[in-house]
């Protein structure tokens, strides 16, 4: 077993290690000095709103975007000097699909696989296997153009697997998909995790982060504002439960002062009031006891959305 920091590049323990990593476009820092470590076999997430710097970070790890400052090792190699060798062993699902839509499903997989030095026989067999995996076998020899968004996304993910990557980079893998398509994808990603594929996933969707990630960092404005497992983050930055209160339009401000002291912390959203409490039921009783009558109430578990709200004062999705 290799030791930390002095990894064997053939069998790295740290798949990615970045220190004070910076990406600047012109004068603007899209990534403003982040430290990040991804271990072998882990599913690691970047959670943050649009513009947080997630894609910029992913592109540096994928060796298609040189870092502006700081240190970065991927598979214990330097992307600056070993780009092709690293790219040979990773799989990339970009935020926007870039399939060859004029080719067939099968051709997309075969042609792409050849770029990794795989033999014709190998890519032929692999394409069949991956179409099975992506549930696209019945569309094998159809052109890609008319396929649905979910099918194209699945094909992009299948394509990223063509070289049996050790590390898979997924930039917003399910954004824009309907719930059924995304559940199918989540299932596939879980399957890959079982096979030992290290995954790095970016998302601005807290459900996705909770579903897929063993460990994640919350990113905002090019910086990492918190790090941990989903449950750790919720425990550290939120309460067990949240009580949501909705009032008729215009009345929320007036009611706030009557209930604010019932919870350790509260947040005011445009359409509702959030009271953070470990026992939501008891807090709701206390609200009623004061004669406050919201239009509707909801008691739910804390999510990463609440963590993000606490850390940045803003919602993940605006």
């Amino acid at each position: 077993m290799a030791r930390d920091g002095e990894d064997d590049e053939r069998e790295p323990h740290l798949m990615v290690s970045g220190k004070a990593l910076v990406k600047r476009f012109g004068g603007v820092a899209a990534v403003a000095g982040i430290d990040v470590e991804v271990r072998r076999g882990e599913s690691f997430g970047f959670l943050g709103p649009n513009g947080a710097g997630k894609s910029s970070t992913m592109r540096m790890i994928a060796c298609v975007s040189p870092r502006s400052d700081g240190e970065l090792r991927v598979l214990s190699m330097d992307p600056e000097t070993d780009g092709p060798r690293i790219r040979a062993r990773i799989g990339v699902v970009p935020q926007l699909d870039n399939l060859d839509v004029e080719l067939t499903v099968r051709q997309n997989l075969q042609v792409y696989g050849r770029y990794f030095g795989l033999s014709r026989a190998r890519v032929r067999a692999k394409a069949v296997e991956l179409m099975e995996f992506a549930e696209l076998s019945d569309r094998a020899d159809d052109q890609v153009e008319p396929l649905s968004g979910g099918m194209k996304r699945r094909l992009t993910i299948a394509r990223s697997m063509v070289n049996d990557p050790e590390l898979l980079l997924l930039d917003e893998p399910t954004t824009g998909l309907d719930p059924q398509a995304r559940h199918l994808l989540w299932g596939r990603l879980y399957q890959l995790k079982q096979q030992g594929v290290t995954q790095i996933i970016t998302t601005h969707d807290m459900h996705e982060a909770e579903q897929l990630c063993d460990r994640l960092v919350v990113m905002d404005g090019g910086q990492i504002v918190a790090e941990g497992s989903p449950s750790e983050l919720i425990r550290r930055f939120s309460t067990r439960e949240v009580l949501e209160l909705r009032f008729p339009p215009g009345e929320q401000d007036g009611q706030l002062s009557r209930v604010a002291d019932l919870a350790g912390r509260h947040e005011v959203l445009p359409d509702r009031l959030l009271l953070y409490a470990d026992d939501g039921e008891a807090t709701l009783e206390a609200v009623h006891a004061r004669g406050v009558r919201p239009v509707s109430t909801l008691i739910r578990r804390s999510t990463l959305e609440d963590v993000f709200l606490r850390l940045t004062g803003r919602s993940l999705v605006d």
Partner: protein
């Protein structure tokens, strides 16, 4: 500890990487060859039929055509002109699309293939296409009786070199184009069309007004035409041919270097 996975991916050497791109283009071509064959193969033949056989029948062999029949005079230049047009055409919107619409260049450079190899593959594929359409043109022209000597087979090679020399700078331009590519329309109108007219393709340089003749001298197509006629008709000054060849090779080398630089600038950001 989770199981250790070993990727099957490897880095391929540069020549093979370029060849793999040719394979990729071939996968596309196999599906769409009919539409693309028209512009690169059939069009120059229509020109040859109209100009060489039709219009040419009205032109007497004379001093202007070096004593040759018009068909023999115009056939080699039409091949080179066709290669130049398709070379520039294939390097404009199709290359911009690789960066911007189809984004296949973005997809390919996420693999071990580098932007330089991608460019090399594009040029190699273009060379193959130009060779193919040159050979088809040459064979049909042969049935018209357009060729006088065996040396005429070299015209295909001249067409390929001239086409590539004109294509490489256009690829560089495409890599530096971020809008919808209106500049290509301007280029077709104000560079390509004048180049067709002022390169002694249809009539000799002596017929071009002396004040406009500099247009001819800087035109890569004219240099290609001169070499093509030299090998197809014979009796040329080897020194002149070397000069024309030098011009084309310099343009090709300069275009490739510039395109390579701009491909990296566009794809590695």
């Amino acid at each position: 500890m989770p199981p250790v996975r070993r990727s099957t991916g490897t880095v391929v050497p540069t020549w093979r990487a370029m060849w793999l791109r040719v394979e990729g283009h071939w996968a596309w071509y196999r599906r769409y060859w009919r539409s693309s064959l028209y512009s690169s193969g059939i069009e120059p033949l229509l020109f040859l039929a109209a100009m060489g056989l039709g219009f040419g029948s009205q032109v007497e062999a004379g001093a202007a055509t070096g004593g040759h029949e018009y068909l023999h005079y115009v056939a080699p230049a039409l091949l080179v002109a066709g290669a130049t047009m398709s070379g520039m055409g294939e390097s404009s919107f199709p290359v911009l699309s690789g960066f911007k619409w189809q984004k296949d260049y973005i997809a390919v450079t996420a693999t071990p293939i580098t932007p330089g190899q991608l460019l090399g593959g594009q040029l190699m594929w273009l060379a193959i296409r130009l060779t193919l359409s040159g050979v088809i043109y040459g064979l049909v022209a042969l049935t018209f009786g357009a060729w006088l000597r065996p040396g005429a087979v070299l015209v295909v090679g001249v067409g390929v070199i001239t086409g590539l020399a004109c294509a490489a700078p256009v690829m560089a331009l495409a890599a530096a184009t971020y809008d919808e590519g209106r500049r290509f329309v301007v280029m077709f109108r104000f560079v390509m069309v004048p180049m067709m007219l002022f390169s002694a393709t249809f009539f000799p340089i002596e017929q071009i007004p002396i004040e406009l003749r500099w247009l001819t001298w800087i035109s890569p197509l004219w240099h290609g035409n001169e070499i093509a006629r030299a090998v197809a008709l014979g009796g040329a000054d080897p020194l002149a041919v070397a000069g024309h060849g030098g011009f084309l090779l310099a343009l090709l080398a300069g275009g490739v270097l510039l395109a390579k630089k701009l491909f990296y600038r566009r794809l590695v950001v």
